[in-house]
Symmetry: C2
Amino acid sequence: MPLTRPRNTPASPRLAMPSSPHPLQCLDAIAAIKPCPRRQEICRQGQAANTWYWVLSGVALRCVIKPDGRRQIVDLLFRGDFFGLTAGAEYDYTVESAAAGTVVAEYSRKHVEIQADSNPQLARELRQITFDGLTRLQKQLMILGRITAEQKVASFIVDMADRLSIDCSDRVTLPISRYDIADYLAVSAETVSRALRDLKDRGLIRFTGTRVIQIMDREALQDGEYDDVLKRTGRTERIPAHPLPARLARTESRTASAN
Amino acid sequence: MPLTRPRNTPASPRLAMPSSPHPLQCLDAIAAIKPCPRRQEICRQGQAANTWYWVLSGVALRCVIKPDGRRQIVDLLFRGDFFGLTAGAEYDYTVESAAAGTVVAEYSRKHVEIQADSNPQLARELRQITFDGLTRLQKQLMILGRITAEQKVASFIVDMADRLSIDCSDRVTLPISRYDIADYLAVSAETVSRALRDLKDRGLIRFTGTRVIQIMDREALQDGEYDDVLKRTGRTERIPAHPLPARLARTESRTASAN
DNA sequence: CGAGTGGTTGAAATCCGTCAAGAATAGTGG
DNA sequence: CCACTATTCTTGACGGATTTCAACCACTCG
């Protein structure tokens, strides 16, 4: 399968940023493009973990079913994010697309690893990719560690703005429903709704649409409560870190399509 | 400096390494051994991430200060675990020893990476190490995602038993204080104490010492919910409205604890 | 022995999940 | 373009769970 490369072609008109190729570019030849209808399972917990994925567009949810039967969303995946990498032989999570127009590239794990054995640069990129996943998980861990639901929701908004906004407009379109946000933050959907209202009433955010938020006071959102200066330390900024492809190009208006 | 290493380390419970001695063995030459007194900082958030660490013995806490000033412990590190691997150029967490007799091995990140460039096997091992870290974080995410504090504490106990018990005696010595457990589970120390008492009163665990626990009913500890009412009632799924993944059938019987 | 740490317990206020119902929105087919 | 329906989102009320503040106990160490 020849495969149209995501880089500078299909899914999105723009997304150039031709400076650096994307991490797995040398593997395009073995990749398969897979468009996913809304709510389709891409990989399932328990299956043999033979494929690695790269999100080309849209949104995907990495989730696990908790012992009490509820769903816990462990990671949100947007364009440029990878998933499918595991420690064991099987996936220990399920990934499903969360928006129409979601497209992923599939890479054979075995082939990638063989390639990596003879390509140190690729090996480094794989390491970097995994580190990025670690960073996302740790960030989420910090959000779940917040005490009040309002703080969780506030942190979530800021995080989404950081990941989805190209410009610094502090405007963000929530990529998932309130119910999914609830499963992501481990609170009830009703609580999410109430927290958003409270944040609005307190003037920290403003709504342009049901899912479109204008951040009015980013500081207060992050700090959660009173904004002492006690935690004055180099606000660890976003880490563009590794040569991610065009991930930051025009992500803003997504979700607009369909749904 | 050839160093003695904790052979049978089960960094990843499953595919341990029966074949190779330890992942970074070929790097012993560049490692430095560092004993850490209790409560000593091993690396600090914001510092240049130039060193990778391997825990030889004892306990270490990987933690971050939350915007509200509280400490959140994001990972517990025992013998055989690695830390210090980051996506960016700086550590985005602080690691401190949590028990007397903690010893770590220090590896120069640069040297390791150079080695890995010419040693595919090492590169794979580094990947595996990182995956193990991912697995730990996801597991912790699941624990934080539990609803009640009692479920969090119960899950924590089982997790500790899995990681620390050599035999399958279901007996475990908690490696950290109630306060640290609280920071790890994002609840108050008082709640941890009460949860432990409740678990004991319900017969799910038994205390041999303040920190020594005998697990009496592992099933009940993991599943979290107590016996009757709540669980049946077909309350398996809420929100019939939105397209939840249809699984979760798994709510059926589960004999009450007894004992 | 007194100070310090770690652990436990009680009481009050608050927060959140659950249940229930109603509004707003999007999608579909005519 | 409209009606119609399914989904998503919001709001209220209530009870239970957790945080907070406080005090008290056990143990260790100088």
